[in-house]
Amino acid sequence: MATQHSRTAARFMISPAVIVLLGWMLIPLGMTIYFSFLFYNLLQPGQESFAGWMNYRFFLTDPSFLDAIQNTLLLVGGVLVITSVGGILLALLLDQPIWGQGIVRILVIAPFFVMPTVSALVWKNMFMNPVNGLFAFFAKNLGFQPIDFFAHVPLASIIGIVSWQWLPFATLILLTAVQSLDSEQLEAAEMDGAGALNRFFYIILPHLARAITVVILIQTIFLLSIFAEILVTTNGGPGTATTNLTFLVYIQSLLQFDVGGGSAGGVIAIILANIVAIFLMRMIGKNLDI
């Protein structure tokens, strides 16, 4: 009887969370899908009409859509490569016996806590500015022409900034994984004459495979939605050079007031994110034993 009672209580306790999240998921999502089939512009209220697949057709055949997809892939891929390779190397370094390990760790983690608008603006102005930035100063002193980062390599600049923000996350998680490695195994390999490279590729890397996958999946979820860094540095430009899918949907909906087209873009963004989410959820689910 007590269990029956506690089960009812449990259901009662969990219901607010379920209701709230169900509403959060279904209502806006349903509205986005509904809008994506309408001609609906905020500048012409009351003139909504059924559009069929037209919004999708317009959005998908818009040249800026292909640019946005390409930029999204480059941005996500570039940051993933930099942060996972950098994160592995840094985690291995921090795992070595060094003096002041705790302090170095704190220094390395710090960028993760900096809000996106701050890191983007600090990098853009104080480092990458072609006249007053620190990079320009060093370039001039070394006899080079300073690079106008956001004019000539805008996407690479944003990739750099975002990588700086996410390298700590990758390092921290990979360091946790490195530290769980059985050191006796490494010692045995070393005694058997395995060189540093062999030990890395045959023992360390396989051990880290799971953590690397998790880093990649979680970062991808967040990186697909990069927005603030683009808004405050390039506003998507020059042209569409730094417009990712998130930013394109933002332009379409809140700057051009095209609710229908923006919603179609939103649905596409959801589908893309879900492809990644399925893999991530599967990995999390496997590790969760109830």
Partner: protein
């Protein structure tokens, strides 16, 4: 058998690690230093690192000109408000799943987590329209609601993992001793749950403080937190590096300190137990 570590090797690794650590940290340090310069010194060439005339003029300028305290207050209200509201919903849910697991508990947890995978831009328009029609645009309440919703899955998940570490036998023992449900919760569980709840609060305050999609899209002058206030520096008027640095330093300092205390929880909270 421990590996013999030669001092030489240790020195080399230490030097490399410190060099890289300082390089990664340098932009933050540089922002901090620049915030104590005048605008002229901030763009001086060659730049001076330590030997300049330290002064607070940039801080004074930021505080006078731009209503900085209001935005700081907005950030505090929004991040703590949304964390508190989410806790109110999350604690009972995580509690019941941890202590009275049912057959479908795992599915429920996974489903809750899946709502976190929804890209915000996918629901930007409906939320914007709902907010416009209900007068929530550019209000602190609106942002509290949104941030509660987006962080709720992480909060439930983290609390669940903490609560699960509380041994169930303790509950049974208390029950045998005749403790009522109320005193069970008040005197037995709460003291054991507080550390987990505290860690969850820390991580979520950090996430909410730095959230920069909804705060930028749903606020204007009134409810803008620091993320949006800093964004207003993207259209420069003349010399502004020192002011940007001063505003940035004030915006990130509190959360940097909180963040350093919660490194361990970060891994746990952001990987959902997938990395141990």
């Amino acid at each position: 058998m421990a590996r013999a570590v030669t001092t030489q090797r240790k020195i080399a690794f230490t030097a490399a690690a410190w060099l890289i650590g300082l390089l990664i940290f340098f932009p933050i340090l540089w922002t901090f230093l620049t915030s104590f310069k005048t605008e002229g010194e901030a763009i001086a060439s060659p730049p001076s690192f330590l030997f300049f005339d330290w002064n607070l003029s940039a801080y004074e300028a930021v505080n006078e000109r731009s209503d900085y305290p209001k935005h700081f207050f907005n950030s505090v209200v929004i991040s703590f408000g949304s964390t508190a509201l989410a806790l109110l919903i999350a604690i009972p849910a995580a509690w019941s799943m941890a202590f009275v697991p049912a057959k479908r508990t795992k599915d429920v947890l996974m489903w809750m987590l899946s709502t976190k995978m929804l890209p915000p831009v996918g629901v930007l328009i409906p939320i914007y329209l709902i907010f416009r029609d209900t007068g929530l645009l550019d209000t602190r309440l609106g942002l509290v609601i949104i941030l509660t919703l987006i962080n709720l899955p992480i909060i439930i998940w983290m609390l669940f993992t903490y609560f699960r570490e509380i041994p169930g036998e303790i509950l049974e023992a208390a029950r045998m001793d005749g403790a009522s449900l109320k005193s069970e919760i008040l005197h037995v569980l709460t003291p054991m749950a507080v550390p987990g709840i505290a860690s969850t609060v820390l991580l979520n305050v950090i996430l909410a403080w730095n959230e920069a999609f909804w705060t930028l899209n749903l606020t204007a002058a009134n409810a803008a937190p620091l993320t949006a206030f800093i964004a207003s520096f993207s259209s420069p008027e003349g010399l502004f590096y020192a002011k940007l640095s001063a505003a940035s330093t004030m915006a990130i300092a509190p959360i940097l300190i909180v963040g350093w205390f919660s490194q361990k929880q970060l891994v746990r909270g952001l990987t959902f137990g997938a990395v141990k």
